[in-house]
């Protein structure tokens, strides 16, 4: 609770110095600190000629390279792929998806269409990522996160018929409000609440849940102002609206219903959400523009050795097979643990155990191209996400190109865990068939309008063997510190070395933290 003196002080500051000053003051006083990022690192006084070898040219690696060179270090980056950006990746027409053990997929999207198989959206409080997007000229546009007119579907609710998110959200709120008002009348909350509280809460339930004068949630003009109409308001003599009917309340309590509502309450899922204009890889390209002269591609690291004086990394050119050694004073290693756990790395037993203790997710994403935007034209869905508890888990509609004619690409599946594994084991054609069959439940237009598609299984990615690090309460406790402490002359960075896993922001925060500590250690050495 902000004390009244402090509140007065903050108000005064706000009036005197504007929002920025108020924000600054609040940050200093411990409020509004919703991101660790306060600005790019100030790394002054690097010893001339000190060499840092960065392993991996994903966002964590390229950020380390960028900031360390700026600080005066001599930097080189080794990258396994023939492409920078790592999991920051966009697929467009003409691109190829090469998995282990899966026939190669050629993307056939029309020009201008794309799918982001990895990261795709940026919460407004991911300040580090937003900072570097701005600095490197990466244009952002809104990512439609919550769409009230999208669908929520579960085979065990409403006879398997997809419902509009708006109706589910409205009716769930109304029914809960009615039940709570009823339980106040039934004196079940007398112990918890004072008489005044109970009166106020009951009134709150009426307003919040759109209850009538008898505290009932019913089909009416009143409830239809939130949940929409059977017949919408119009002009002229017959313009009067017809209220909509409520959903069966028993089916509202099915897990898939409330879980879809709860998703958007998650801190990381709250709007405003952004996406880079033209594909998420605009971020990777923005970083690469800064450091591409430092990067050696097609380099498979096979050994990371170190002693008191420096690091020695052995790597093989994936094209020619030529083996080389690279020495440096320090090493920032951003190789995913799924791969690093199989590399001969000379670190303490604690770090070695940590590297081997973190499994990776098997996310699936499908990009499906359709001949027209039937979700917009027929269903009034412009961007946003429909949920289903079939294996595909969700369908997300493009947040760009609204109302344009011609083909468009939607995200036809975004799933993980057991569903992700099941789909990963299929051929591309079988995966797409799953996407079409299950997506047809939401949109019967699928079959008629389908043009082509691509399905990415992260567990089969040759360069990452998975999508994101999976931490448990147990492994965090046992291994996280060992994983992230500087070990001699080696420090690890990436989303796996953060508490914001599976987000680009986590990779950046981890990288910034690692290089700050490394710089300090280098100064002391």
């Amino acid at each position: 609770m902000v004390s009244s003196t402090r509140r007065q002080l903050l108000t005064a500051l706000g009036l005197a110095g504007g929002t920025a000053a108020l924000y600054q003051a609040m940050t200093v006083m411990g409020y509004a600190a919703d991101s660790r990022f306060t600005g790019p690192p100030v790394l002054s006084g690097a010893r001339k000629g000190t060499k840092v070898l960065v392993l991996g040219a994903g966002l964590a690696g390229m950020l380390a390279a960028y900031e360390l060179r700026k600080a005066g270090y001599s930097v080189r980056v080794l990258e396994y792929q023939n492409r920078t950006g790592g999991r920051n990746w966009t697929l467009r027409g003409g691109d190829r998806v090469v998995e282990m053990g899966t026939p190669v997929q050629k993307v056939e999207f029309a020009p201008g269409n794309y799918i982001n198989p990895g990261p795709w959206r940026i919460p407004y409080h991911h300040r580090a990522l937003l900072h570097y997007c701005k600095q490197f000229g990466v244009a952002l546009e809104p990512f439609i996160q919550l769409n009230y007119n999208a669908f929520v579907h579960s085979p065990d609710a409403f006879g398997g018929k997809p419902m509009r998110y708006r109706d589910v959200a409205c009716d769930f709120t109304g029914v809960v409000a009615e039940l709570l008002a009823k339980s106040i009348d039934g004196h079940t909350l007398d112990q918890e609440l004072t008489q005044e509280d109970r009166m106020q809460l009951k009134e709150a339930m009426r307003g919040w849940g759109l209850l009538d004068e008898d505290f009932r949630y019913k089909s009416s003009v009143h409830t239809s102002t939130r949940r929409g109409w059977e017949k919408r308001p119009g002009g002229g003599p017959d313009g009067a609206p017809v209220p909509s009917q409520l959903l069966d309340r028993h089916d509202l309590f099915r897990p898939a219903m409330w879980q879809s509502l709860a998703t958007f309450m998650n801190y990381e899922m709250q709007t405003t959400m952004f996406q880079p204009t033209g594909g998420v890889d605009m971020i990777g390209k923005g970083f690469a523009k800064q450091v591409s002269d430092l990067i050696t591609m097609n380099a498979r690291v096979s050994r990371i050795a170190q002693d008191d004086h420096g690091v020695r990394v052995t790597w093989e050119h994936t094209g020619t097979g030529k083996v080389s050694e690279e020495t440096a004073d320090w090493c920032v290693c951003t190789i995913p643990l799924s791969v690093l756990s199989q590399i001969d790395i000379q670190v303490s037993p604690g770090m070695k155990a940590a590297i081997g203790a973190v499994p990776y997710t098997s996310h699936i994403k499908m990009g499906l191209e359709f001949k027209r935007r039937f979700w917009e034209q027929d269903d009034d869905i412009y961007g946003g996400i429909s949920f289903t508890n079939q294996e595909i888990s969700q369908v997300s509609y493009p947040s760009y190109g609204f109302q344009s004619s011609g083909p468009a690409v939607l995200l036809g599946a975004y799933t993980k865990s057991m569903a992700g594994l099941d789909i990963a084991g299929m051929t591309p054609a079988e995966r797409i068939e799953v996407g079409l069959a299950q997506g047809s439940v939401l949109h019967p237009q699928y079959r008629k309008e389908f043009s082509n598609g691509v399905a990415v299984a992260w567990s089969r990615m040759p360069w990452s063997l998975g999508c994101c690090a999976i931490w448990s309460a147990e492994t965090r406790k046992q291994h996280y510190r060992n994983l992230t402490e500087i070990d001699g002359r080696v420090v690890l960075a990436g989303e796996h070395a953060s508490y914001l896993g599976c987000w680009q922001e986590g990779a950046l925060l981890s990288s910034l933290d690692a290089i700050k500590r490394l710089h300090k250690r280098a100064q002391e050495a």
Binding site: Y80, M100, G101, P119, W120, R121, P255, Q259, S260, T263, E268, I335, S338, V339, S341, Q342, G356, P359, Y360, T361, S362, H363, F387, N389, Q390, E391, I392, S393, Q394, Y414, T415, K416, S417, M418, A419, L421, D422, I423, A424, G425, A457, S459, R460, M461, P462, W463, L465, G466, A469, I470, W471, S472, A473, E474, T475, R476, L500, G501, C502, W503
Partner: protein
């Protein structure tokens, strides 16, 4: 284990654990194939994602181990322990697959892909090997 119990377990798991609460995640949807009975079914719907339909694994920046002709399968408890607890990039399946399913798939793998072991592992053996289920947090 029947479908109902597994389904209840899945529901309890979803509601009790903040699964990937911080991660960019598809949300709670995506029902898994939790009615698998035979080892062949478990292999097809789970293991094949990485170890491939022919059990030969894969090779990229790192290796997905082959199960075909892998001498580490000689003792059934070894693969059963890996499936329960995970290894490297491979997640744990303790709490996701039932002891029956784990026993079935281990027995399946040890008698297919050119493997021909004659001993089997039982669900109760797997159950005896199972520790507490980790709490996924991300």
């Amino acid at each position: 284990m029947n479908r109902y119990i597994l389904h209840m377990l899945a529901i309890i798991g979803i509601s009790a654990l903040p699964v990937m609460a911080h991660a960019d995640s598809p949300g709670a949807g995506g029902d898994s194939k939790n009615d698998m009975k035979t080892g062949a079914e478990v292999y097809q719907h789970v293991c094949q994602a990485c170890h491939m339909a022919d059990g030969k694994g894969g090779k990229g920046a790192a290796v997905i181990p082959a199960l075909a002709g892998n001498p580490k399968l000689a003792m059934a408890a070894y693969p059963a322990g890996i499936v329960l607890n995970g290894y490297g990039a491979m997640p744990w399946f303790n709490g996701t697959l039932s002891p029956e399913q784990i026993a079935s798939v281990v027995n399946y793998v040890r008698t297919h892909f050119g493997n021909a072991y004659t001993d089997t592992i039982s669900a109760s053996d797997v159950k005896a090997m199972s520790g507490p289920v980790p709490h996924m947090t991300h």
